[in-house]
């Protein structure tokens, strides 16, 4: 059977890049050029603030970093960012 449109099912297995943004920092170029191993870069966010989940560069959710009982790491989703919220910056 043929269809005139591509369905989401057709794209279901397409692998997308998921990244977790921990925070940002506005830094002078001179300071970036002075980075060496051991430098601590302070981010503009509290340690317990949610992280952003980016899918192919677009923020789609926020969550907390969690460590499960078996030692695996993950992000527990707190909020899904809808388009009504405005696309968050990567």
């Amino acid at each position: 059977m043929t269809s005139s449109r591509v369905s989401l099912d057709d794209l279901a297995e397409v692998a997308l890049d998921v990244r977790v943004v921990l925070g940002r920092a506005s830094v002078r170029i001179a300071d970036v050029l002075a980075y060496t191993p051991g430098t601590v870069v302070s981010l503009d966010i509290a340690p317990d603030a949610p992280v952003a989940l980016l899918v192919n560069g677009v923020a789609v959710a926020e969550g907390d970093i969690v460590l499960s009982d078996d030692g695996s790491l993950g992000v527990e989703i707190l909020r899904v960012i809808s388009t009504a919220d405005g696309a968050a910056q990567p």
Partner: protein, 259 residues
């Protein structure tokens, strides 16, 4: 309705040197001196100060010599009329109505002897059939050999215009590292990505856990735009009393682009 395309041209700083190469008038002077010794008759030999000027082929063609020397490239061109005059200065009379191979050879020999001026003996002048000075970025300097009767041979010397030395020239100054150092850029800290199928992402809902790579916290990337500049491990930093911020301690500087 169609609109004609317009190309916007932005003025560019003039990077051309306005000083002719020192060797060009010296070459002209040397040719003038050798002409007095090599050519016959009462000749008035003069040469110009170098000036900007593009090469133009003579109406009935010309011959050209090219030399590579320590200071750069030089051309000498001479049109057909000047070749005939030069021949007359050598043989003491007019050549054949139609140039013979011997006459052509004599003219070539004389020009090469004149070009072999003091200070240019190391330069190898080679006659070239196709190479000519191109564009208008050339200095031009004519050596004129003239008899009282008005017969005249002009050797046209050309040298390319060099770029200006940017030192001390505000219009050609580059942005220095110290100037740009005060510009702020955004550094982003990310956990190394995973790949997830679209179907799984569409099922994301509050409470779900998206699995990350093991040891992800030990490998945090610091990015500027799409370039990973460093990586390190996640921690926190005490800023003031009761105020802490998330932080990354750099473990390795890495200039490779983000995967």
């Amino acid at each position: 309705m169609t609109h004609p395309r317009r190309r916007v041209k932005w003025p560019r700083p003039n990077r051309e040197s306005n000083v002719p190469p020192e060797w060009l008038p010296k070459l002209a002077q040397g040719i003038a001196q050798r002409s007095r010794a090599a050519l016959r008759g009462h000749l008035d030999i003069t040469y110009d100060e170098p000036r900007r000027g593009a090469y133009e082929c003579g109406p009935t063609g010309d011959r050209a010599w090219l030399a590579l020397h320590d200071a750069g490239v030089a051309w000498c061109t001479i049109d057909t009329k000047s070749q005939a005059a030069l021949l007359a200065f050598v043989i003491g009379g007019c050549g054949a109505e139609r140039e013979t191979p011997i006459e052509r050879s004599i003219i070539g020999e004389v020009i090469e002897r004149l070009l072999n001026a003091e200070g240019f003996r190391q330069a190898r002048w080679t006659e070239t059939e196709i190479d000519r000075p191109t564009g208008d970025r050339t200095w031009r300097c004519n050596v004129e050999v003239r008899t009282r009767s008005g017969r005249c041979a002009i050797l046209q010397l050309f040298a390319p215009v060099a770029d200006r030395d940017p030192s001390g020239d505000a219009s050609l100054a580059y942005v220095s590292k110290s100037d740009i150092g005060n510009v702020n850029i955004t550094v982003r800290a990310e956990l190394r990505g995973v790949h997830a199928p679209l179907a799984q992402i569409l099922a994301w809902t509050p409470g779900m856990v998206v699995s990350l790579r093991p040891q992800a916290l030990a490998r945090v990337d610091l990015l500027v735009q799409d370039s990973v500049i460093a990586n390190g491990r996640l921690g926190s930093l005490e800023m003031q009393a009761d105020e802490r911020s998330r932080a990354v301690e750099i473990g390795r500087i890495n200039g490779t682009p983000a995967a």
